[in-house]
């Protein structure tokens, strides 16, 4: 319940829940086992009950091993024997199970302290239909979409190797489209990295390299993804490295000091027409060069949104009207 606990006012949480409930009935649960820690040693079973009475329950970790141990998701359908589905063994913590489209659920697990693995399960066929690696996967309230950052190895970047390091590609997985529909032509449906539709930076393609790029071409998502309650759009903060000529400086105590090597923009992704190229990406450069702080919360309103950036003395709240977002 990260969003409701920390970021969005209770009222908005209720709106989000109501939106999901309207789509799928009153029995929807969004069970989670996450938030304060990545702590594989102490996770408890979690469960999700669907509106047709189907219950999914995960096996919690009872012993710690240096090696791999598969978690099971036990699927109990009304009037049928329970069936266990073994999930990929590199998942060592299950954070949540989300009701997706059709007979699918999305299981969001972690393979280490930063890297996630999303597993799609068809509960009617008792089988895994797709899986992919990701950073910060955030399902839409209606469970159809999953916004995430495309996977790259979390470490190993140095001056002698991958000199410019990785770039955050913002992706959207659409659970309606299935494995092949979420991969570009030529990419195997078993591929766990080149998955989803790339929506930001604009112009990048799913299978484009996201490591070893020139520094000026790299992008960072600072903070989290925030979905509108109706799942039609989501917002994030994108930080871009500046070319040296664009570096922002200020005069501090009589000296010119470089205060920003980057600029940031709030980015709004409109999924009203989710099939690419129908995805619309808008950008609001409301605090160029100075708002590279993480996006901590967003409140969606009728005509605009209120975003909180940063923590401590750098914390600021900005209000942006939707018509201030323009095509990048």
């Amino acid at each position: 319940m990260k969003r409701q606990l920390f970021f969005i006012p209770t009222l908005l949480g209720i709106v989000a829940f109501a939106s999901v409930a309207a789509l799928y009935g009153a029995e929807i649960q969004v069970p989670v086992n996450k938030d304060l820690f990545f702590n594989p040693k102490a996770q408890k079973p979690i469960s999700l009950t669907l509106d047709d009475g189907t219950v999914l329950r995960t096996t919690g970790e009872t012993e710690v091993s240096e090696n791999f141990k598969n978690y099971d998701v036990v699927i109990s359908r009304p009037g049928k024997l329970s069936v266990s589905v073994s999930i990929p063994n590199e998942i060592v913590q299950i954070n949540s199970i989300i009701r997706a489209v059709g007979n699918q659920v999305a299981l969001i697990g972690m393979v280490n302290g930063s890297v996630y693995k999303v597993v799609l399960i068809d509960v009617a066929r008792y089988q895994i239909t797709d899986q992919f690696l990701a950073y910060r996967p955030e399902p839409s309230p209606n469970g159809r979409f999953i916004a995430f950052v495309k996977f790259y190895p979390p470490h190993g970047y140095g001056p002698d190797f991958y000199p410019a390091g990785p770039s955050d590609f913002v992706m959207v997985y659409d659970t309606i489209l299935g494995p092949s529909g979420n991969r570009p032509a030529g990419v195997n449906i078993d591929d766990k990295i080149d998955v989803g539709t790339a929506v930001y930076p604009t112009g990048v393609k799913t299978q484009d390299p996201n490591v070893g790029l020139p520094e000026a071409d790299t992008n960072s998502v600072t903070g989290e993804f925030f979905w509108a309650p109706d799942s039609s759009k989501f917002v994030f903060n994108a930080e871009h490295q500046l070319k040296s000529a664009q570096t922002v400086t200020r005069i501090i105590e009589g000296k010119e000091v470089e205060v920003a090597k980057a600029e940031a923009s709030l980015v709004l992704v409109d999924l009203t027409s989710p099939r690419s190229p129908g995805v619309k990406v808008f950008q609001a450069d409301v605090c160029v060069g100075l708002c590279t702080e993480p996006l901590m919360s967003v409140e969606f309103g009728a005509t605009g949104l209120k975003a909180q950036l940063g923590v401590g003395p750098k914390k600021r709240t900005i209000e942006v009207q939707y018509d201030q977002f323009t095509s990048p």
Partner: protein, 468 residues
């Protein structure tokens, strides 16, 4: 009863008046001997003789004076006019002590003995020409106890007989030593890792005032825990309630001792050793897995060097291990050393030279050492990875290479001091309700991530190398 109450009030009032009265004056004690005669003065003007204290004309005797009051709030001078009366040899020896820390000699202390290294100047006459001060060592040693004077028990054993021209200028000489006001407040140390600020308060005995110590941030000042009652001269060590210290960059510490109007203050600049408080930060962990720790079966694999020479691993690599190398970026293989994930989309990863069957998931680059973005060897349990990249970053308020991260527990005790050596791109988010995210390099070599859970959420500050 009423009379009694009035008396009590008067007594309390008197007590308050006594307590708030001005402090006792600093006094000087002196023990000295001159071969052959001297006059001792205390002045506030170096070039004019001041108050006469005493004199002597017997070189075999030591003369002592106590309780000589210094003139408050200004610089004082000890003046000794020495005269040779009976030919060989001329010399002056003594030691001098101040009663409290309101004043200090030029050596920074309250004790001064005669020698040529510090504290004394010599002139041909009062207000006259400066001369070269020497030991009176014409006969050899000039240390207290030397021939022909013998040991003077009243004077420090480390004092020397001094004069000009090694004691052979058989005439009068004017010796002067400065007694200067001390800074009433000095911060001698400020260390967030030890959580201590050491403050030295100097003043005449009886000086009292409330001590306040604050860390000065860019947007706020944060008070240390200090005694609530007035304190006197001495050395005080205070600390901060670190857990409630606001997120900010603290560049200096100010100590204020309220002993008058205006209060005595000093500000201690921390130069580049700033305290950059980040708040409560999520510390996840990463590791380099060991192939032998992995269950699973071997599968075909290749390794290649930086010259794109590919070698097929004879018995393959463990399948789970290869999977973890892709996920973590690096791994320790059993027979091929350290290997790195190297996707073919990057030109340096030898895509064109790959043999048939070699893919991103089973062909790895061999490297000799596990390094972070700072290009230094990662140390398990010590290295941390931060966002933004510490390498090449010039923003001093970010974690830069070699900056230290202080981790403090929820009971305000130090958990660890770690060193910034790597970049955690993913740490730009996934804060899990905290105010940031740092990835700590774990000593675990487990294959599975199940033993590399979060290190914990800790109050964290960048102390810029303090106690590295």
């Amino acid at each position: 009863m009423k009379t009694c109450s009035i008396l009590s009030l008067l007594t309390m009032l008197l007590l308050i008046i006594v307590l708030s009265a001005s402090a006792n004056a600093t006094t000087l004690s002196a023990n000295l001997s001159v071969d052959d005669a001297f006059s001792l003065y205390l002045s506030t003007d170096k070039n004019m003789l001041g108050t006469f204290i005493g004199s002597g004309d017997t070189w075999t005797a030591t003369y002592s004076y106590n309780g000589i009051p210094l003139t408050p709030r200004v610089k004082n001078y000890i003046q000794v006019v020495g005269t040779d009366q009976y030919q060989f040899i001329a010399a002056f020896m003594g030691d001098f002590t101040l009663s409290d820390t309101a004043f200090a000699f030029s050596n920074g202390t309250q004790f001064l003995e005669t020698n040529t290294s510090s504290g004394w100047e010599v002139y041909d006459t009062v207000g006259g020409n400066p001369l070269v001060l020497t030991l009176a060592d014409y006969y050899g040693s000039a240390l207290n106890g030397s021939w022909p004077w013998g040991f003077r028990t009243e004077i420090s054993a480390n004092a020397y007989w001094i004069w000009t021209n090694h004691g052979m200028d058989l005439t009068s000489r004017y010796f002067v030593a400065e007694v200067d006001l001390t800074d009433p407040v000095t911060i001698t140390e400020a260390n967030l890792v030890r959580n201590t600020v050491t403050v030295q308060l100097r003043g005449a005995s009886g000086t009292w005032g409330v001590l306040k110590v604050t860390a000065n941030g860019m947007t706020n000042n944060y008070a240390a825990i200090t005694p609530t009652n007035p304190v006197g001269p001495g050395i005080y060590t205070v600390s901060f309630d670190r857990l409630n210290m606001p997120i900010d960059t603290y560049k200096s510490i100010t100590a204020e001792w309220d002993i008058g109007s205006p209060p005595a203050t000093t500000t201690y600049s921390m130069q580049t050793g700033w305290w950059i408080v980040k708040g409560v930060i999520r510390h996840s962990q990463y590791n380099t897995p060991l192939e032998s720790k992995c269950s699973g079966s071997p599968q075909q694999a290749w390794v290649f060097d930086s010259n794109c020479n590919f070698t097929k691993v004879p018995h393959g690599l463990n399948s789970n291990f290869m999977n973890q190398v892709v996920i973590n970026g690096t791994g320790y293989s059993t027979n091929n050393g350290i290997i790195k994930y190297c996707p073919s989309t990057w030109t340096a990863c030898c895509a064109a030279q790959r043999p048939k069957g070699a893919t991103d998931s089973n062909a790895f680059l061999e490297v000799s050492i596990v390094t972070g973005s700072c290009n230094t060897k990662l140390i398990a349990g010590t290295s941390v990875a931060t966002y933004p990249n510490p390498h090449g970053n010039t923003n001093l308020t970010d974690f830069l290479c070699r900056d230290t991260a202080l981790l403090v527990t929820s009971s305000d005790t130090d958990q660890a001091v770690k060193t910034t050596q790597d970049w955690c791109k993913a740490c730009s988010g996934d804060f899990r309700g905290t105010q940031g995210h740092i990835d700590d390099y774990s000593p675990s070599q487990a294959c599975s991530g199940s033993l590399v859970g979060d290190y914990g959420n800790f109050w964290t500050a960048n102390t810029k190398g303090e106690n590295r």
